[in-house]
Symmetry: C4
């Protein structure tokens, strides 16, 4: 593409699929990478196809190095999937915008695309940081319309009693800006410690989403990842405890 330039949001279409009212699902990096893990697992399981790349001069000025020594410019990606009675567009990526302005511009560029496909429903996926380990992460929700709140409650989604919270970044903006275009949607947030990637929380979020969408997918790979994270964190804990114990014993020798 001669003279190709990147503005605040530049979309490169790899193909232009015919889609009818696809549901938009967002899973960009965030707290515990819950949304990203969930959306990427969904793409893998339903074999969604990439059809567009989104570049932005509000992303970090950076390329990432792949395993084979080649590079890629940081970007977001759009995948599509056509089911029997449902179609999906899934948004994943390396980064969110660095500035407030960039985040608004990027969310609006995504909405411009899906609006043309007739999208009426948006699900944004993310993590809800609790600051401590959660054995059985609940899924907390927020929605554009009260009837969606009611419906999600039936799927076991938790809605906070105290007011005053907020949803920062693409997970919030796509819904807030989508509402202004007449779209509906909800954010599904998996409880997570917040200081480590959390495939277990991603699984809970994805379970609610797939049940809501009537999709039947396999969670084995996400469970494997969750076990691996658990193994690593437990090894670290043991090392810390051992270090602590040996310190105490050292002190005993002194005493």
């Amino acid at each position: 593409m001669e003279g190709f330039r990147i503005s605040e949001a530049s979309v490169v279409f790899l193909k232009k699929p015919r889609l009818k009212e696809p549901i938009l699902i967002e899973g960009l990096p965030g707290v515990g990478n819950v949304g990203k893990l969930a959306a990427e697992h969904l793409i893998d399981e339903i074999k969604a196809k990439k059809f567009a790349e989104v570049y932005s001069n509000d992303f970090p000025p950076q390329v990432l190095i792949n395993d084979d020594g080649t590079i890629k410019l940081v970007r977001n990606e759009l995948y599509y999937w056509k089911g029997k009675d449902k179609q999906l567009i899934i948004l994943v990526g390396d980064y969110q915008g660095l500035s407030a302005r960039g985040q608004y511009m990027l969310a609006q560029a995504i909405l411009d695309i899906v609006e043309k496909y007739g999208t009426k429903m948006i699900f944004t996926l993310g993590g809800y940081g609790t600051g401590m380990e959660v054995e059985k992460p609940r899924v907390t929700g927020a929605a554009t319309h009260i009837e969606i709140v009611r419906k999600l409650k039936k799927y076991g989604v938790n809605f906070k009693d105290e007011p005053g919270g907020g949803i920062i970044g693409a997970s919030g903006l796509l819904l807030g800006l989508g509402m202004l275009r007449g779209m509906k949607g909800a954010c599904l947030m998996g409880e997570t410690a917040g200081y480590i990637v959390d495939p277990n929380s991603a699984r809970q979020v994805l379970e609610v989403l797939t049940r809501y969408l009537g999709l039947d997918i396999n969670f084995a790979k996400l469970e494997e990842k969750a076990l691996e994270v658990k193994r690593i964190t437990e090894r670290i804990k043991k090392m810390e405890m051992a270090a602590e114990k040996s310190e105490k014993e050292d002190l005993r020798y002194i005493g």
Copy 2:
């Protein structure tokens, strides 16, 4: 609104009321939330009607979660009120702009609206941080023209003797930019500690404003809020004193 996009200041009109030279009153978040509390109380008491929402890509990229689980994109709001001989436009909202540039753009967008309605007078409401608790908060002022300074002094407004202060944010910009369009106005700042919301200070500010405007409103709800804040701060103080005392007693046992 298909294709709706948010720039540095995008106004969505819910209705277009006919107004004649309305006085603009601003109460956005700030020190002690004095201005916000005052303006919101005024809206409630005189039953002003919302007629416009202002969105900005310089606001935090965020939605807020309402009590019922639904969301709203962060925004500012404009209300209007038609009295017998006075009309008001009241500006309230969730946030001020994040950047200098955004704040200028937002203030100018507001002035564009009220200028079309023929606004000639602006009151901006805010807090004046003193760093310590104030039992009887005075109202400090600053104005675009010396005759307004003189008039406000008659209403008990305090004007500082030492030079060199400044008014940061919308409370300053609306006046400074309004002056350049031939408007007049004043900023009313209630003394406040600065580290806690201060309905008592908001009440003092609103009392001056309503007397100046010849409005007669009820302050009961603001007084209730002030009492609640007082109860909470006193409970915290008692807990701190108790903690201190028990610490001292612990030390006595050691001695």
Copy 3:
């Protein structure tokens, strides 16, 4: 001015004087406020007249409160003066731009104005922070062309031996950007501690400048200000020494 809006650099002309090749002199806030003090003193002494105000959405979003309780939006100001054989435009103001981009835009807006008047020479005034008190501040220089370096040396201006320094802000940009438009100029920097306003350093800078320009002005007011600053700093020093002494005596009682 109905609908008046402020961009990165918006000039409001109060009058449009006829000028011929005026020399531009810049004295905006900076290290020790040396440039600002010098330029403001020059304006007062030669009775230069204000002809333009420069506003910018890259200035802090703020109004300043005057002594009489009225306000002014932060801005820069341009003054002119017509001598027998020399004409001057003097740039002073409350702030410099907050961002790199804003500073470039503001400097370019100033150059746009003076270029139309045929300006060929620019003097920028500033402070050169040494980190310690300087009894007899030298004036350090930097210039656009080697012949100006040579000429300024004859006026006692010091040029550093070690390379690698820089001039940040308007004092640097006006010269650097002016060069690209074919203008010449120099920066005169008075040595100063850097942590206090320094009228004495401003005087040294202004003495070099006025001798170079063949102007004869009175420095009494600048000397008064310098004495006042000296009195204040000495009082503070005495208080610190007294505090130190009493601390030592307290220690003696303990011993």
Copy 4:
């Protein structure tokens, strides 16, 4: 140039050389200034000629002072060189852009220029911070295409086994953005401590590059610089050791 204004990337051509498919080589300031040292040495040795200067309002708002007291506005510079069967464009400069957006704009402005000359290949040079001194710095690489990875391995370039790294700034962006225009290229990163300029690492990088390009240049000046840096760091180390020793001896006197 009357009315000359600097935008995010403004190119001033000093001459317009006829070039055919020149290879772009980038060496802007970065970790250990490895890329800058390498590119500047290459320019000196092959006697490349400057043909363009790039200014940007995203560079620091600053002029640099030359040894003779004259100034220059901070900028990037483009040099060209015509060999028998190869032509080069070399990019060096004082700074990279301050913001993400500015860095994208600057990289795109450079690509606009070289694309017109038919550039198909880009080498970006930089340092790879290891956090400790490296006696024999290896050259680590990353490339746009797998065949370039393979070819560079034959020249002794190291490719990391673990995934997940990134290349920040112009060295990454020129390749990432160049790819989107159909260009190929690689980044050569010399291992370096990261806290000191490293001519030795620059030499290793330049050796790989010149062998790849079939150029035969002299490294004497770079070796001299490397020795000088070594002398200085060793002197500092000795001073630190002496200071440590005398401290220990002081302690002995006490004991």
